[in-house]
Symmetry: C2
Subunit: 156 residues, 2 copies
DNA sequence: GCAATAAATATTGTGCACAATTAAGTTGTG
DNA sequence: CACAACTTAATTGTGCACAATATTTATTGC
């Protein structure tokens, strides 16, 4: 039972704090797993996008990553430089439009995908939570994101 | 191939990404409201704790804030210094135990609470989301946090 | 053709998070 | 008492986020 407080400013009544704390708790769970891959959490997300797009036969620009992850160049440029220094990807300015930088996986970046395959399972293992509950929560969060970003209702 | 990919590494299948994106989307919504108070989002959370504890007649140490927000001194020390420079609170090392720093609201910090009262309502206004859905989501996130932090089942 | 505008990325500066270390103070034990 | 173990906060260093601005290149209007 919740010690009821109608105070709109009570920390426990803030959905924002629940979101903030949950996000950090999940990230903390990921950290040791991603450490083994030599990735930070945002770097892992960027790699997910690159793996996904390469499988779909798509090339990827910095702006594609930005759109997908909702991050700007101020975040992505240094992040991609670090991944590039680790030899996981290349950053190449396009010749036909020199404003554009194309990001491509190296062989090493491609190989990392195999090791990453085990991360999602390892994350959940040991957690007492039903998969369908996670799916429902994920959908609820996606709906919330759509509402927050002011998009119209869609079928996603 | 399939639109609903069951690829465990697909970005849209990651609960972590939904959480990450939702948290940033909410924070972005807060930003203009908190700007008017001269607070960042984590600073706002710290103030919520201080307002709450003062109303309960409790004094607050740095470690109390850390426990409540799950933040360490590396985050809190500079954050509290900034709030102190703005005159919202004082940081004082206790004389009976000089390891401890006590954080106390100033009159200005206390007054800010009135203005903050309107933030939660303003945040939701314009958003097409039912309050009970938010309450359910909040509870689901709290459950998730408890599971992730490995705490035993509690009554909250 | 060329100025004005737009687009794509990079840079700079501020403020978190968090790991690792340090420093100072307190407590428990022989 | 001495001194190790522990507690609390501060410091240092790395890596995001994000606003604001800069830089370079393309496109558009005339």
């Amino acid at each position: 039972m919740e010690l009821e407080s109608d105070d709109v400013l009570a920390l426990d009544n803030q959905i924002c704090f629940a979101l903030y704390a949950a996000n950090r708790a999940v990230t903390a769970r990921y950290r040791p797993l991603l450490d083994e891959l030599g990735l930070t959490y945002p770097q892992y997300l960027a790699m997910l996008v690159l793996w996904e797009r390469e499988q779909a036969g798509l090339t990827t620009r910095v702006s594609d990553l930005g759109q997908r992850l909702r991050l700007d160049s101020g975040t992505l440029t240094p992040l991609l430089k670090r991944l590039s220094e680790r030899g996981l990807l290349t950053r190449e300015r396009q010749s036909q439009d020199e404003r554009v930088v194309t990001v491509a996986l190296t062989e090493s970046g491609r190989r990392l995908r195999e090791r990453a395959q085990e991360v999602p399972e390892q994350l959940l293992c040991g957690l007492e939570i039903e998969p369908e509950r996670l799916v429902a929560l994920r959908q609820e969060l996606k709906d919330m994101i759509r509402i927050l970003e002011g998009a119209a209702a869609s079928s996603d």
